[in-house]
Symmetry: C2
Subunit: 249 residues, 2 copies
DNA sequence: CGAGCTTTTGACGGTAGTCAACTGCGGTGG
DNA sequence: CCACCGCAGTTGACTACCGTCAAAAGCTCG
């Protein structure tokens, strides 16, 4: 896990997440606590592994900027992308509870992370119960996302899965201000898409071409564009869960 | 959601979960808190829906006894089983954060549940931060299980999925004292298995027959028997996560 | 310009889904 | 008592979706 640590330490009261529309801002007391709870920052470039499956993780992270990929690897090399992380997402909670990490995390873009110490989490729960509650909230929301992915893999056709993923990523992007109009700029390889949706690379490619022809979403190597979100949601059979502003940090 | 509520209210200090080997017992202070936090008990018979997708849930539950099924339903009727709940598992956390439930919960056996009020969760986090932390732990563990299921659906063959599920259920049973020797008594229909593993009913049936012929697991309608757990784990390519005693309640 | 990665295309085979029918079993009611 | 029903499990035949193998084309970067 390389990367310039603490390149530019920004005080929490200037945290970019505070004016992110999809996120609920912290109270000033909470901000004061976070200020001393925060250990530093980590900036990594695209492709960097932030966490490695099987290793021990001394840190927790909050994503300040960028998009990451969480994935598991089987011994024989098969990979499964488990979820994506957007700004405001909390990474490494499992590492606190379960010793060796059960998945890896890799940066899909340039990424800036906020670092916390794993040892001091108990302290957070004691001194700021509301923040502890928020962490549980985030964890429950993550669980909900995994359930959606699970039904996508289990019960949706390849084309539905692709549209589902397009909509999912687009909406996560919109919540976290990563999106511009009906476009989400995000470079993902088709291999990563395949590993997310449980498809082979070849089949993912063919289905992606089929998706492009439907005009429901235009998904290029550079960006995802969804002209009619309602229509896309319907055709993905995506049940949108209620969009309350998420807590963070 | 029918069922005799509070049929027999057992004090927490006699909770059957306390001497469950896979679970970490509570301190006496925590027990005292839980005693007044607990609202009552709910006993339901096999097949009962304890929670219904789309409805609001006023309660949280801890499983005292029995096994349940969590599943999502698409509008067109396709079903996806998301996970199973064994004694000690915590149900309904998502209902606290996200308003309408995103999945249903159904009893697979006779089940006894401990009921908590959704409104008072904040109180628990404030007064017993350690318990709040434990809830987060449970949530993180659940997340880990979902990730395993996800890679099963995405990257394993039908036969591997079946063995994976057999091993998964057996080990959960063993953790929670539901198992006897190398047997887990548990009635599951092949349709439920199919909906768990993302297979069609017919194909699940055929693969199950194939699994029986391998002698790795004998999975009848009544029970799962795994004579050689190590071998089964290997052939399922199941990466066993470390088995620390779980917290509960 | 060549190396290496990602995307694309073709051909082929196998895995898994669908449709349909039949069996076996337990419960219900005539 | 047994016919009848519904449900779970089983089997066969057919199809199609999807994976694998292989190769070529496009791209970026040193």
């Amino acid at each position: 896990m390389r990367g310039k640590p603490a390149a530019a330490r920004i005080p929490c009261r200037q945290c970019p997440l505070l004016n992110c529309k999809g996120l609920r801002p912290l109270t000033s007391e909470q901000l004061a606590f976070m200020e001393q709870f925060k250990q530093g920052e980590l900036s990594v470039s695209k492709g960097t592994q932030v966490m490695v499956q099987g290793s021990l993780s001394p840190h927790l992270f909050t994503v300040l900027e960028g998009v990451l990929l969480r994935f598991k690897t089987l011994e024989d090399g098969r990979r499964q992308v488990v979820n994506f992380a957007f700004p405001g997402d909390f990474l490494g909670l499992q590492g606190v509870m379960i010793d060796p990490l059960t998945h890896s995390v890799e940066a899909l873009t340039e990424v800036r992370l906020c670092i916390f110490s794993r040892e001091r989490v108990g302290e957070l729960f004691k001194e700021q119960p509301d923040l502890g509650f928020d962490i549980t909230w985030l964890s429950a929301k993550e669980e909900g996302a995994l359930e959606e992915h699970l039904t996508a893999l289990g019960r949706r056709t390849a084309l539905e899965r692709l549209t589902y993923l397009a909509v999912f990523l687009f909406m996560r992007g919109r919540e976290t201000g990563t999106t511009v109009g009906d476009r989400l700029k995000l470079k993902i390889t088709q291999s990563q898409i395949a590993d997310t949706l449980g498809l082979s690379l070849v089949h993912a490619n063919r289905t992606l071409q089929r998706l492009r022809r439907t005009n429901i979403a235009s998904w290029s190597a550079e960006e995802i564009r969804i002209p009619d979100l309602e229509a896309a949601i319907a055709s993905a059979k995506y049940e949108v869960i209620s969009r309350q502003p998420l807590p963070f940090i």
